[in-house]
């Protein structure tokens, strides 16, 4: 125990910041122009939350599950070339994608709620996940290493949190928030240890999640009662 206490977070760092961002640069180059449809799909997530339809939850489940599969099978093996722990996370990404699809279809866990202001906060979080990671890359003068929703884990996790938390506070929905939240914490830790200012990107995410849990929980419960289908609808 004493030995373990002697380790600092920096002792677990395997790579430098330069190598880390080069990873995204190479990944973007390998996938170009997939970034364009990825962003369009990300905007579709926002639209589905803003203008819910009866099928929105299932559409979100498909989009997010595919995004996690792409990030898991595409990016994580590349990340594993500098971080051996990443290879072990590929099954976790795929498992989470399966969970999103299953809960989205079977438990209707991703049906967007019409409960403002939580709905707007969720939309804001999704837009934040789509825009801020690439914007920070541009501001840091390394635009080629921009992180893109659906292709890389960080923006995918942030957008997923937005979509999941727009769906209220039922337990299957909240369960879906756990993995992207854990990923955000792990990514924040990595960036913080690397000493890059981009680590702060996750601070507003944490605040938004807390706000949505508080607002969305209270209002979402009311909304669920108000929009609960009548017995006649249950055919």
């Amino acid at each position: 125990m004493e030995t373990w206490l002697s380790y600092s977070p920096q002792d677990f760092l395997l790579f430098s910041e330069r190598v880390y961002w080069r990873l995204f640069e190479l990944h973007n180059a390998a996938l170009w122009p997939a970034q364009i449809p990825a962003v369009v799909v990300g905007l579709a997530v926002v639209f589905l939350i803003l203008r819910p339809r009866p099928w929105s939850g299932r559409a979100l489940a498909v989009v997010l599950a595919v995004a996690w599969v792409v990030a898991g099978l595409g990016f994580m093996p590349r990340y594993a070339t500098i971080n051996w722990a990443a290879a072990n996370l590929v099954p976790a990404f795929l498992g989470y994608a399966a969970l999103v699809a299953a809960f989205g279809f079977l438990a209707r866990a991703l049906e967007p709620q019409r409960s403002q202001p939580a709905q707007w906060a969720a939309v804001g979080l999704c837009l934040y996940g789509l825009a801020v990671p690439p914007l920070l890359a541009v501001l840091a003068d390394r635009p080629a290493s921009a992180e893109v929703f659906g292709l890389m884990p960080d923006p995918t996790a942030i957008v997923t949190l937005g979509a999941v938390l727009a769906a209220g506070r039922r337990w299957p929905t909240l369960l879906l928030a756990v993995f992207p939240a854990v990923w955000c914490v792990a990514s924040w830790a990595t960036l913080a240890i690397l000493g890059t200012a981009q680590a702060w990107m996750f601070a507003p995410v944490a605040l938004a999640v807390l706000a949505i849990l508080m607002l969305g929980g209270r209002l979402g419960d009311v909304q669920e009662e108000e929009t609960a289908p009548s017995p006649e609808d249950r055919r």
């Binding site: 030995t3 920096q10 790579f15 430098s16 330069r18 190598v19 190479l26 070339t81």
Partner: protein
């Protein structure tokens, strides 16, 4: 049980700081003076001789923790090869890595092939796996990554599974599959156990953390290494870069010129090299000029005991 090996002795201050300094100091530290590479005009590089085998190595090596973990990136791999090229050109040969260091082994192997130095490297790697039955397979995988016919040195990384791995390594050494064996620790961890293993096992090398700030090994481990005839690879000589960063901008003390040290980094390395044990710092770097500068620290005069105290004080107070 092991036999006690002949220990090198510490030279006098006059011998160290007087004329012909390098020629006098090198044998005293268990080594000889190797002719520098043709491209390196800085003078003879201090070497260490491994008492158990008579092998001779330059007294500054090259680490690969973090710096060489660049994955498949072709640009960064080329940069790493440049660092190794500069390192060899300056007179260095020891490169140290571990299966723990991500892609570093493969990057080293590819880089050595690229600069045609696979045959010149003193390959130092580690075994790092809890299941000691898997040790041989891991070492073989590491050797394949390095693209060398056999390792010059395999160390038990951070004492993980040390009993089983040392048995394996002793067998491999006896069979000629590895040339030297050793154990490592870092950050001052598990020094008690480290000493116990050193005391009862025939090790050629040990690896510890040592620099003018982290000096715990001066008390027992370095004297024991000297007594037992073990060469000491020194990791974290710059505290993973924190030491030069802290000293950046601080004026170099006047006595640094007497030692031929042009930078704080060289002063730190000279401090390490001047310990009576056969120390070999293995700083990691991403810059070819730093690799040259590091090896150059093993040329010219070394500080005596009094000067070492002044270096430690200067670094502490800077």
């Amino acid at each position: 049980m092991s036999k006690k090996r002949q220990a090198p002795s510490l030279p006098s201050r006059r011998a160290v700081l007087g004329g012909g300094l390098a020629a006098l100091t090198a044998p005293a530290f268990g080594g000889t003076i190797a002719p520098p590479a043709a491209a390196q005009p800085a003078g003879p590089v201090l070497t260490r001789t491994v008492p158990s085998t008579g092998a001779t190595v330059p007294a500054v090596g090259l680490g690969s923790w973090i710096t060489f973990n660049v994955g498949d990136d072709p640009v960064l791999r080329a940069d790493c090869a440049e660092v190794m090229d500069a390192f060899f050109a300056a007179g260095g040969t020891i490169i140290d890595s571990s299966p723990m260091y991500g892609s570093a082994q493969e990057v080293i192997g590819a880089g050595l092939a690229r600069i045609d130095r696979t045959g010149a490297v003193f390959s130092a790697d580690k075994v790092w796996i809890g299941d000691t039955d898997e040790g041989r397979d891991q070492i073989e995988q590491s050797r394949t990554n390095w693209r060398v016919p056999r390792f010059d040195l395999v160390q038990v990384h951070n004492l993980v599974g040390w009993q089983g791995h040392l048995e394996t390594l002793a067998e491999m050494k006896a069979a000629g599959a590895v040339r030297h064996i050793g154990i490592t620790t870092s950050h001052g961890r598990r020094h008690g156990l480290f000493e116990e293993v050193m005391a009862v096992h025939d090790l050629d090398f040990i690896q510890v953390t040592y620099n003018p700030v982290d000096r715990e090994v001066e008390d027992r481990i370095l004297p024991l290494a000297r007594e037992r005839g073990m060469v000491v690879l020194v990791n974290r000589p710059f505290r993973r870069g924190a030491l030069p960063r802290r000293l950046e901008g601080a004026p170099l003390p006047g006595f640094a010129a007497d030692l031929g040290a042009e930078t704080w980094a060289q002063l730190v390395l000279k401090y390490i090299l001047s310990h009576p044990a056969a120390t070999v710092p293995i700083p990691a770097t991403t810059q070819p000029h730093h690799a040259r500068e590091n090896v150059a620290a093993a040329t010219g005069p070394l500080p005596d005991a009094a000067m070492r105290d002044r270096i430690a004080a200067a670094i502490r107070d800077a």
